[in-house]
């Protein structure tokens, strides 16, 4: 495989909240590279730190150790004003709940162009209007919606407004934080299709954050599984589904309901017990067990995983 361009590099990332006795380590020792043009998914249960990582990339949460690189340049910690502006433009975020993430008292026109207004990224009023119209069309909404308020829209339409707001900044990298969890089944498919189409037409790279593995399989190129702030396994999407190795990944996979009554009723539920790992003497490492398939474990476990692969 030819060397692909790394858009985002996360090195030994640690994020903590609070200080002193109340200090809480939310994310620890996270190493991820996200390549240009791919959809990279982060999967884990609530409280595992997946959103925190997404927010750290968009500079919402400060980083306490390690660094984040965007196109080879450090964007974590103190950076210059110009770079900050570039990150704001190039890294955008789509939020989970379209009911809560739009300003109820602003018109769609303002909501979508707020980023442009804040940073004076338009020539004149006509240019701004044109950009809003273009963004609306691109997400499948009509330009006349610009003069309406968010409460006039359905959940799926609101999520499209959220996507238009991210697109208008012409980003290269989009963090999609559970963009479809709050949506209805019939609308999920529409939003997923839209995200996929934009990926191709705009050359976007996604960090897709989700807790539902079934959706992730359809949309992503690579998947990382995160548990309690640590990435425990990372692999290509199909590889992860066919050969899950880490017990937590297996538990997560078994918990996903399959829409097939025969298979679902035969399914064995795997429960993850973190005490199976004995890391007191034998320290765990982050190892590439197969090309492109990373796993977190100590020597003994890695050997067992290797045996599993051969079997």
């Amino acid at each position: 495989m030819p060397e692909r361009e790394k858009l985002i590099e996360i090195k030994d990332l640690q994020i903590t909240f609070g200080s002193g006795r109340k200090k809480f380590v939310a994310v620890d020792h996270v190493n991820i590279d996200i390549y240009k043009g791919e959809t990279f998914s982060l999967v884990g249960e609530s409280g595992s730190g997946k959103t925190t990582i997404g927010r750290a990339i968009t500079r919402i949460n400060p980083v306490s150790a390690g660094e984040i690189l965007f196109k080879g340049r450090r964007i974590s910690g103190k950076i210059s004003k110009e770079l900050d502006l570039e990150v704001i433009k190039k890294c955008q975020m789509i939020f989970q709940d379209p009911m809560a993430s739009l300003n109820e008292r602003a018109k769609v026109d303002y909501i979508i162009s707020e980023g442009l207004i804040n940073h004076h990224l338009y020539k004149d009023e006509d240019d701004r209007k044109r950009k809003v119209e273009y963004a609306l069309r691109e997400v499948g909404l009509l330009p006349e919606f610009a003069s309406r308020f968010p409460h006039e829209f359905s959940g799926g339409q609101r999520q499209r407004i959220g996507i238009a707001r991210a697109l208008i900044m012409e980003p290269e990298f989009v963090v999609a934080d559970e963009p479809i969890s709050a949506l209805d089944v019939s609308i999920r498919a529409q939003v997923l299709n839209l995200l996929n189409r934009l990926k191709v037409s705009r050359g976007l790279t996604y960090l897709f954050i989700a807790h539902d593995l079934s959706v992730v399989r359809f949309i992503s190129d690579r998947i990382a599984v995160i548990h309690k702030g640590r990435i425990v396994e990372l692999a290509e999407a199909e590889e992860l589904f066919l050969h899950p190795l880490h017990p937590y990944t297996k538990a997560l996979l078994s918990a996903v309901p399959i829409p097939d009554p025969e298979m679902e009723k035969k399914k064995q539920l795997v429960v993850y017990d973190p005490s199976v790992h004995d890391y007191s003497t034998d320290k765990p490492v982050w190892e590439e067990i197969l090309p492109g398939h990373f796993i977190y474990g100590n020597k003994k476990e890695l050997e067992q995983y290797r045996r599993e692969i051969q079997a």
């Binding site: 249960e45 609530s46 359905s154 959940g155 209805d184 089944v185 019939s186 609308i187 999920r188 498919a189 529409q190 997923l192 299709n193 996929n196 189409r197 807790h211 539902d212 593995l213 079934s214 959706v215 399989r217 359809f218 949309i219 538990a251 997560l252 078994s254 918990a255 996903v256 309901p257 399959i258 829409p259 097939d260 009554p261 025969e262 298979m263 679902e264 009723k265 539920l269 993850y272």
Partner: protein, 344 residues
Amino acid sequence: MAKEPILSAKDVEIQFSLRGKILKAIRRCSLDLYEGETLAIVGESGSGKSVFTKSFLGMLDANGSITGGTIMYEGTDISKYTAEKDWLTIRGKKISMVMQDPMTSLNPLKKIGKQIQESIELNQGIKGEAARKLAIEMLKKVGIPDAERRANQYPHEFSGGMRQRVVIAIAVACRPQILICDEPTTALDVTIQAQILDLIRALQRELNMTVIYITHDLGVVANVADRVAVMYAGQIVEYGMVNEIFYDAWHPYTWALLSSLPQLGVKGEDLPTIDGTPPNLFYEVKGDAFAPRNQQALAIDFEEEPPFFDVSETHKAKTWYLDPRAPKIEQPASIKKLREQMRK
């Protein structure tokens, strides 16, 4: 089926008056519920699945009322109940409900034990210490460790999954005959979801309950249901045993629901979507409500409402496709794919 239904709703109509206009939320909807079974009701938001089941407990909002049809339960037509006193003989005692969001369905100012105790005192006439003991027993039953201590805590000290267990404990404390679970796991994580579904199943067996699930997650349906009813625009459009719905569906709306699942998607291709929006129920719906969104709709779909046609003894679908006079229409490829998977 030869068995007698324990609850039988016939041609139920429910209307809401909103800003002087009448909204027909449920349009002549019928449903039979048999003892010990698990029935899942699926449909998109606004299809009326919650409203329909809430009418079994007299929990409609003040501006809504049952305007037609009957709901027969234990020999009486409960749809005619108007006084709160009548409903109290059923709600919580015979039929109870688990709501979607465990964050908002508990009282944040009361201790957990007290909240369960309250339900027992109100519905079973057991008072004081005895009720408290029973409450702690219920907590143990729903799998909360260290129940004595936990009973003295407040809801904010519980996680989402634990709170949902408490809500279930309150609902089943009086050993209801029918338990209605309104999206019990949508607000929860997948791992927790699996545990809660297992818990409900275990309780169902132990207390011999009949369970109605309301959900839009077809994965959950496949996991729990014996029978499935698909709802669209205030009507049940298809119902049958779970395998019949998943592998041999006939209503175009059921097809659309099943094929838009990301699990069946092929990478790099668009997922099939359901275009358009559900009909506005402020107006009279003419013909098949799904016809405007159905690309293969027949001419008659726009004219006349289809009756139910039998697919099998237990499986009925409300679509003109099954009329012998209709042109031959094939099930879409994704439905056939599901059926082939089963044969393997």
